[in-house]
Amino acid sequence: MTYAPNIRIIRVMCSGRVAPQFVLKAFIEGADGVLISGCHPGDCHYQEGNYNALRRHRLLSKMLEQFGIERERFRLEWVSAAEGVKFQQICDEFTEQIKKLGPLNLNGGKDEHREA
């Protein structure tokens, strides 16, 4: 079973550990999309970390739009450890979607005008 090679994994203990700072960091470093994947609601190994991920995802998505980063580039998906196939499908589908959106081109938040 293989999934899209474009995906890079940052492992944390729980989706509740994913800080919005990490998502922003990934975007500015060059990621064209960020996927958070956690345990299903009600089935969190740490009881409720995934609900925190959900709350942060919704608020951060809204804020990213203000930065011109489309909602489609930032996804939250519930995938359990037993759902390898689902993970594969999501990765492939997400990669396709990002390809359609094209590169993000944040340029590190810098101003070409000034650097010129």
């Binding site: 940052i10 944390v12 729980c14 509740g16 990490f22 990934a26 009881q47 409720e48 970390g49």
Partner: protein, 590 residues
């Protein structure tokens, strides 16, 4: 009364020495001299209303008639309880009472004893029972403290009544007045016409002092605060007065005791499914539709019917239906199997067969006889002639369609083996109610930081490899709080939990999670946002230092608080912000 002073007197020529302050009646009792009384009660202030206790008191040449219930003894008193004068006066008083309350049985009895056949006085109301003894009024005032009733009017119109003859708000419905009334002049009725279903089977308390269940350990009665008069009015305490062992203490209060322990076994049990949630089964509407637990009480030899299987009207049932899976294996209520109902239903069928000649119908979805010897028991029941009908009961009704169904409860069921819908008339329906998580299940889960599975039963750490452990170290599970299970399984699990707990205690140490969060004292401002977020309540606020602190033994290392900490004071070992940032930078290096 605790006076050392002694008084000498004679009653019916018998000398006696008694404490100062007691009454002639009490002194006579010590000499085993019987003085008839009606309005006297040892727990109430004497009132001398009936005047039956009249005696003759001689002082030198002088003779006087006094009521013995409220006349205190005096030095040198000479009392005759049955002298001619006393007897004459008593007879007159009895005759007057006979005219006042011709229907009062105790008066008739005393009259009979005294040889009075009829009263010389005019009878106004031959049905009257009240002798105006005031026991009820005094009870309400002195014992209950409610003062809901009193005498109204005067002379021959005198009567006992609440104010204006209306039901009184001061009345707490304790019925003590009726209990104390010697002539049954006071009766209790339910003004609201509430129908009490199988009252004798009611599993709730029946009196204020009770033994909670018949198998209670320790076997000690308790006071039900909800029902006790004392906790309503502050008065009464009759039980305290009459308990010679002085075992009753109304001042005792619930107290919280802190005990330090190394491990905890949760065995908080279950709650029976509330059968009223399925209105179609008629529980609560039909007297003879009862739950499994109520049947157990009915069947109990020390129960209300002494173990006889009887209907609400006292007759033996001719046909009994037992409905399985009530509230279990049902998408409308609980999807899980409660596991115990099949077997207890079979037991009921067997017991009813043994005790009555009733036909027994067992309505089941699947017969789940999973334990040792269970299948054999099922076969025995088949041989005994219990009729097993495979199918879900849709309704229990009293609506008869045929003469045969008249006066019966009719069970509507789809017989899936015959492929037809059947109507089966029975006298009694037993609902095999399932098991549900306890009422405070979520609260307990919160206190002990453990998870619940989707059905709200406590979640074990692993269904196969760690069935008695939880995700919180040192917290173990036993019994139906974890999942529905029967007694053998519960005992087995409890044994396992006990040994796990002992094993942990014996070791004296336990392994901490390596990946926990830590709060930097220098950076924490004590904003406390993290505290409510921790699913393991591992974070507490140290008021003195003004910072939040993490208990390493409780922290499971999810990192939720780290992400949420607005000042970056909370960091997760091995997953620090700086480490993850570096990792992110790393993956983008071409």
């Amino acid at each position: 009364m605790n006076n050392d002073k002694k008084i000498k007197l004679t009653i019916n020529d018998k000398p006696i020495e008694v404490d100062e302050g007691i009454t002639i009646l009490q002194a006579a009792k010590m000499l085993d001299i019987d003085i008839p009384t009606l309005c006297y009660h040892p727990l109430l202030e004497p009132y001398a209303a009936c005047r039956i206790c009249v005696v003759e008191k001689k002082t030198g040449e002088n003779s006087d008639l006094v009521t013995s219930c409220n006349t205190k003894v005096q030095e040198g008193m000479v009392i005759y309880t049955d002298s001619e004068n006393a007897a004459k006066a008593r007879r007159l008083n009895v005759e007057l009472l006979m005219a006042q309350a011709p229907a009062a049985k105790p008066v008739q009895e005393i009259a009979k004893e005294l040889g009075i056949e009829k009263t010389r006085f005019e009878i106004e109301d031959p049905e009257e029972k009240c002798i105006l003894c005031g026991l009820c009024v005094r009870t309400c005032e002195q014992i209950v403290g409610a003062e809901a009733i009193s005498f109204i009017e005067r002379g021959k119109n005198r009567t006992v009544s609440p104010p204006f003859g209306e039901p009184s708000e001061a009345c707490i419905g304790c019925t003590a007045c009726a209990y104390f009334c010697p002539t049954e002049a006071i009766t209790v009725e339910d003004l609201y016409g509430r129908k009490v279903i199988h009252n004798e089977l009611n599993l709730g308390p029946s009196t204020a002092i009770l033994v909670p269940i018949r198998q209670a350990v320790p076997m000690v009665p308790v006071i039900d605060e909800e029902a006790c008069i004392h906790f309503k009015t502050g008065e009464c305490k009759l039980c305290e007065k009459v308990c010679e062992k002085e075992a009753i203490n109304h001042e005792m209060e619930d107290e919280e005791i802190e005990i330090e322990v190394g491990s905890v076994i949760l065995a908080s049990g279950f709650k029976p499914f509330d059968a009223t949630r399925i209105p179609a089964y008629g529980y609560g509407r039909f007297d003879n539709v009862i739950t499994g637990l109520e049947f157990e009480k009915l069947n109990n030899a020390s129960g209300p019917t002494e173990g006889k299987i009887l209907l609400a009207n006292g007759e033996e049932p001719k046909a009994v239906g037992i409905v399985h899976c009530v509230g279990s294996r049902d998408k409308n209520y609980n999807e899980y199997c409660s596991r115990v109902c099949c077997m207890y239903s079979l037991k009921f069928a067997h017991l009813i067969k043994e005790k009555t000649n009733a036909e027994i119908y067992d309505f089941y979805i699947d017969m789940r006889c999973f334990g040792k010897g269970y299948e054999e028991f099922y076969h025995r029941l088949l041989e005994e002639g219990t009729k097993f009908i495979r199918g879900c009961v849709s309704e229990v009704t009293d609506l008869a369609l045929t003469e045969q169904e008249e006066g019966k409860l009719i069970i509507n069921v789809e017989d899936t083996l015959l492929g037809i819908v059947r109507r089966i008339p029975v006298d009694m329906v037993i609902l095999a109610t399932g098991l549900e998580p306890g009422l405070d299940q979520n609260e307990i889960a919160r206190i002990f930081n453990i998870s619940c599975s989707q059905d709200t039963f406590f979640l074990e750490r692993h269904p196969k490899l760690a069935p008695v452990s939880t995700f919180s170290d040192g917290i173990f599970l036993a019994g139906t709080c974890q999942s529905p299970k029967d007694i053998p399984d519960t005992v087995a699990q409890a044994g396992a939990a006990a040994s796990e707990a002992l094993a942990l205690a014996d070791k004296g140490t336990f392994e901490l999670e390596p990946i926990t969060a830590e709060i930097d004292e220098e950076r924490c401002s004590g904003c406390q946002l993290c505290i409510g977020l921790c699913p393991f309540t591992a974070i507490t606020y140290n008021k003195e230092k003004g910072i939040s602190e993490i208990n390493d033994a409780l922290c499971k290392g999810c990192g939720t608080c780290v992400s949420a900490c607005p000042s970056g004071a909370s960091q997760q070992k091995h997953f620090r912000d700086s480490q993850i940032f570096a990792e992110i930078e790393g993956i983008f290096i071409e």
